[in-house]
């Protein structure tokens, strides 16, 4: 008998039987099945016996054995809800410390959740105001040169593709075409106002639902030299007078205003002040041979309106056919076309050449994951603390059960309690949300344009649903484990209560929380070090005290002469771009030794003062000489160009005098520069750089300034600017500030990371505090007796905190290697010129977290260790 006793029937089948069977029949049935099972184990072996048991359980599912649904209980549960709420309130009031720990912990993390919900709601409402938003798709394209598909899709397409689709592709209703570079100064009489906009074709107002206040939406953008203004820009130009039919001047051409539209809504991925008719652009650029080329796919956006119920795969096939046919017009190049739904532009793939700022999938996902971790961590806290308090609550549950509470009712009681707490936390979280919201939005410039996070009734409902969901998630485990408590056990022996056996699980939770905390803070510190490293990175030339002024179309020489009169100005040079902050100009250069071989070379046009002003150092040769004619004959290259084309056996001295063919011109190499960072210093590409002699208008003035009193100097500079150009604001930035702006993204992630790290640490500490208070309270008597026996305070401190310290050490030893591996093997290898990982930043974060935790543990345990043992033991 004893042998077969060890073999028990299948657990699942037993539970099934218990679940469906009427209670008055259950015991007998179980017994019978057990008896048969024992018999079968002996006669037919364990496996057969188990199988038979399962089959029998299923066979017993008959009308007379199945229990009736307990409608009555559900009804009672509803009636009891009021009582649950009342007792929950009492419980929260009675344990003020635990309740406030829970409310604050949940509230802090829920505020992150609220921001997340508000952000998702904002992003989700993008472009939904277009009545046909479900049917609008954007044509995106991929440039494949000689079968090389490494390029990703671009948000743009070629003008030719857009027009082909509009004219000849069947299965589309209409195509709105937008073209960049309409932005510019609008002149009206004496007024000059810079406005941003696009060229748009006549279908624009048919595809999109932007409303015209005045003018005919069908013809507004049809005729050449028509222009549509938004209400705000019309107000700027014309005030209250009617703008329709008036003419304004843009770039020396007259345009007639044919429409005034409502301002572009916030939640539109298209943002503009005005639109010019695309037909104008086609007239202006009619001599441009590249305009209608199949592979010039960088400047046009096409939005296709599809009929209802379109067969997308079929449409994709006809797009493929179109590109196969058009590919013949360009050598070695294939342009792949695809469609992207309008509503996915804001949160979809991170395409290049977007028409405006977009959020993209990756940041949204990262934020989602981070908030998820924070929220789950806080839920853990609640679970953890509630189970820890089982000690005090088991008797309550025991009495409830004795009086006749069902399991579901006890569970309901605990669920209501956790939902109440999470609703209270919501109030706290909401206040925090209102406080954090402006800081969150102003964290990154693009966020300011994208999000408003305004409250709406729907949002409030979502918040409440969210809070209830969090309450249910956090409360489910405590509710289940408390409701399991057997009434008799609850009074007999507290250690037998199942809820107290979950110690290991709670330790795991705590290690998890601290691991996350340490990872978050260490990652933030590392990112901060990288950020500092990059903004101070030695670019290979000097950027100190250099102020870059955007000329905005003004004559460089006039401004230069004015500026040089100031005594603070030590030098002025001209360039068409600023290096080292992610500006690129690229062209093809031919290998002097092999005309078949050509490669992309990045370049900047500079005047003869530029290189000395920026302290560029020459490996060989000399600088440009000032000269009057406008013919470009010379070039200065860096060593990567020599390496790429193998000029002069890569020896700078020998390379001098060699000819490089660029843009159809033969340029003599007159100098070789030491390598410097042309683009962003964290980018691996664009190493081949040449400096070309500026022969026409520059875009920027680089002014070297030594000033004792910067505000006065700035005011003087601005006065000079105003004298030359009264219309445009003075745009001048120090080189170092521009470099800082370049790494703003990194800076923003440091801020987000820091904020989240703080949250996670905060939550982990609150959780730890709860656990420590609980453990020390349980051990109060033990500690008192030890003290009576002569234990020292230090000894007690060690005794009480040793367990927690061990957990912290485990968390650290999980977190640090993980973080190190992630940065060392995954992230940093992709970043050029990154700072190496140092011991300091690896350990600093962990040290702070551990110190904090230690202070917490020590403060609580010392309090207990210092209590008078007589007081404790007397009260028993």
């Amino acid at each position: 008998m004893s042998k077969s006793k060890n073999i028990s029937p299948p657990r699942l089948a037993e539970r099934l039987l218990r679940w469906y069977c009427k209670s008055e029949l259950l015991e007998d049935l179980q017994g019978d099945l057990n008896e048969y099972f024992d018999r079968n184990v002996k006669a037919k072996g364990v496996r057969r016996a188990k199988l038979i048991y399962i089959i029998d359980v299923l066979k017993f599912m008959r009308l007379y054995t199945i229990r009736k649904p307990e409608f009555l209980n559900t009804l009672i549960n509803w009636i009891m809800l009021g009582s649950y709420v009342k007792t929950s309130g009492r419980n929260i009031m009675r344990n003020k410390l635990f309740s406030s720990i829970n409310i604050v912990g949940l509230g802090v993390s829920m505020s992150v959740g609220l921001i997340m919900i508000a952000m998702l709601a904002d992003l989700n409402s993008y472009d939904k105001f277009h009545t046909k938003h479900n049917r609008i798709y954007r044509v995106i394209s991929q440039h494949q040169y000689k079968g090389n598909t490494s390029n990703d899709f671009f948000a743009t397409t070629s003008l030719r593709a857009a027009e082909e689709i509009k004219e000849s592709l069947s299965g589309t209703e209409d195509v709105a075409i937008l073209r960049r570079d309409f932005s510019g100064d609008i002149e009206l009489n004496e007024k000059i106002i810079p406005l941003a906009g696009f060229w748009g074709n006549e279908s624009f107002f048919q595809v999109f639902s932007f409303k015209l206040v005045k003018g005919n939406p069908v013809t507004a953008l049809k005729e050449p030299f028509s222009l549509v203004l938004t209400e705000t820009s019309a107000g700027k130009l014309f005030g209250d007078t009617d703008a329709i039919g008036k003419t304004i001047v843009r770039n020396k051409k007259e345009y007639t205003i044919t429409g005034v539209m409502e301002d572009v809504p916030v939640f539109s991925h298209l943002k503009f002040d005005m639109l010019g008719s695309l037909s104008t652009f086609e007239i202006l650029e009619s001599k441009n041979p590249h305009l209608m080329k199949w592979d010039s796919m960088w400047d046009t956006w096409a939005y296709v309106l599809l009929p209802e119920q379109t067969d997308l795969p079929a449409l994709q096939q006809s797009l493929d056919k179109l590109s196969a046919q058009e590919d013949k017009s360009v050598a070695d190049t294939h342009i792949e076309l695809a469609l992207e739904p309008l509503t996915e532009i804001m949160t979809g793939e991170n395409l290049s050449n977007q028409i405006g700022p977009t959020m993209g999938k990756t940041p949204v996902r990262i934020f989602l994951i981070l908030s998820f971790v924070v929220i789950i961590s806080a839920c853990f806290n609640y679970t953890n603390l509630s189970i820890a308090r089982a000690f005090r609550r088991t008797k309550e549950v025991g009495i409830r059960k004795t009086i006749g509470a069902l399991r579901s009712q006890v569970a309901g009681q605990f669920m209501v309690e956790s939902v109440t707490i999470s609703l209270l936390a919501l109030v706290f979280a909401f206040l925090l949300f209102l406080f954090v919201k402006p800081h969150f939005i102003s964290m990154e410039e693009s966020l300011q344009e994208l999000l408003i996070l305004d409250l709406s009734p729907l949002l409030i409902v979502l918040f409440i649903v969210f809070a209830i969901a969090i309450g249910l998630i956090a409360g489910i485990i405590p509710a289940l484990s408390f409701s399991k408590i057997n009434a008799i056990q609850a009074f007999r022996n507290l250690s037998a209560v199942p809820a107290l056996k979950g110690i290991t699980a709670r330790k795991v939770l705590m290690v998890f929380q601290y691991t996350i905390s340490i990872i978050a803070i260490t990652a933030t510190v590392i990112l901060y070090k990288q950020y500092k490293h990059f903004i101070r990175y030695d670019l290979g030339f000097s950027t100190e005290n250099i102020l870059n002024i955007r000329l905005q179309g003004n004559d460089a020489t006039v401004l230069k002469n004015e500026l040089q009169a100031l005594h603070e100005v030590k030098g002025v040079s001209q360039s068409n771009l600023i290096t080292g902050i992610g500006h690129y100009w690229v062209t093809k250069a031919k290998n002097p030794a092999n005309p078949q071989d050509s490669a992309d070379v990045f370049h900047s046009f500079i005047d003869e003062n530029y290189l000395p002003l920026h302290n560029h150092s020459f490996l060989a040769g000399k600088n440009f000489q000032a000269k009057a004619d406008s013919i470009e004959t010379e070039v200065i290259v860096n060593t990567h160009v020599l390496k790429r084309f193998n000029i002069g056996e890569q020896n700078p001295e020998k390379a001098l005098g060699e000819i490089l063919r660029v843009d159809g011109k033969d340029l003599t190499i007159i100098g070789v520069l030491k390598d410097f960072e042309y683009g962003k210093s964290n980018s691996k590409a664009n190493k081949e750089v040449m400096m070309r002699h500026l022969r026409k208008d520059a875009q920027h003035l680089n002014v070297k300034i030594f000033s004792e009193d910067w505000p006065t100097t700035y005011a003087r500079l601005e006065t000079i600017w105003k004298k030359i150009d009264p219309d445009h604001p003075f745009q001048a930035k120090f080189y170092n500030d521009q470099i800082e702006e370049t790494f703003q993204g990194l800076n923003a992630s440091v801020k987000v990371g820091g904020f989240l790290a703080m949250l996670v640490i905060c939550i982990a500490c609150i959780g730890l505090l709860g656990m420590v208070v609980f453990t020390t309270e349980i051990k109060l008597k033990e500690v008192s007796i030890r003290k009576v026996m002569g234990a020292t305070e230090a000894g007690l401190l060690f005794l009480l905190s040793r367990g927690f310290l061990l957990l912290l050490v485990i968390a650290t030893s999980i977190a640090l290697p993980l973080t190190y591996l992630f940065f060392d093997k995954v992230l940093l290898p992709n970043i050029a010129n990154h700072a190496p990982l140092g011991i300091f930043e690896m350990l600093a974060g962990a040290l702070v977290v551990i110190t904090l935790a230690f202070i917490l543990i020590a403060s609580q345990t010392l309090k207990i260790a210092r209590t008078n043992p007589a007081e404790v033991l007397k009260s028993e």
Partner: protein, 110 residues
């Protein structure tokens, strides 16, 4: 309810309960039935019949003491009620009547 008419299997079960006297619980009834009829008596079927008999008021049941066997579950012992006895007697009577009408010859030739 169809009244106190007994089905064939019901009658067998009822008789077995009566025969087992103080030891009539489901598994024992099954075993006894198998032994006497030579056909397999499925527990599920027997259970259903016992349940029906109890509903008809032909048997009554009570739970026994817990033992170490059967996973610590108590047995439910069945006993035939007076109504049950009456039903059995009536069934026997019907049969006896019918038997008595059969001429002795015919049967002996079987």
């Amino acid at each position: 309810m169809k009244g106190t008419n007994l089905g064939e299997f019901e009658e067998l079960v009822l008789l077995t309960i009566a025969a087992l006297v103080n030891d009539a619980y489901s598994v024992a009834i099954c075993d006894e039935l198998e032994k006497n009829t030579g056909r397999a008596a499925k527990l599920g079927v027997v259970h259903a019949v016992l349940n029906r008999l109890e509903e008809k008021g032909l048997v009554k049941s009570k739970l026994g003491e817990a033992t170490n066997t059967r996973g610590g579950k108590r047995k439910r012992y069945y006993a035939v009620t007076n109504a049950g006895k009456a039903a059995l007697l009536k069934a026997k009577e019907v049969r006896d009547n019918l038997w008595s009408m059969i001429p002795g010859m015919t049967l002996k030739n079987i």
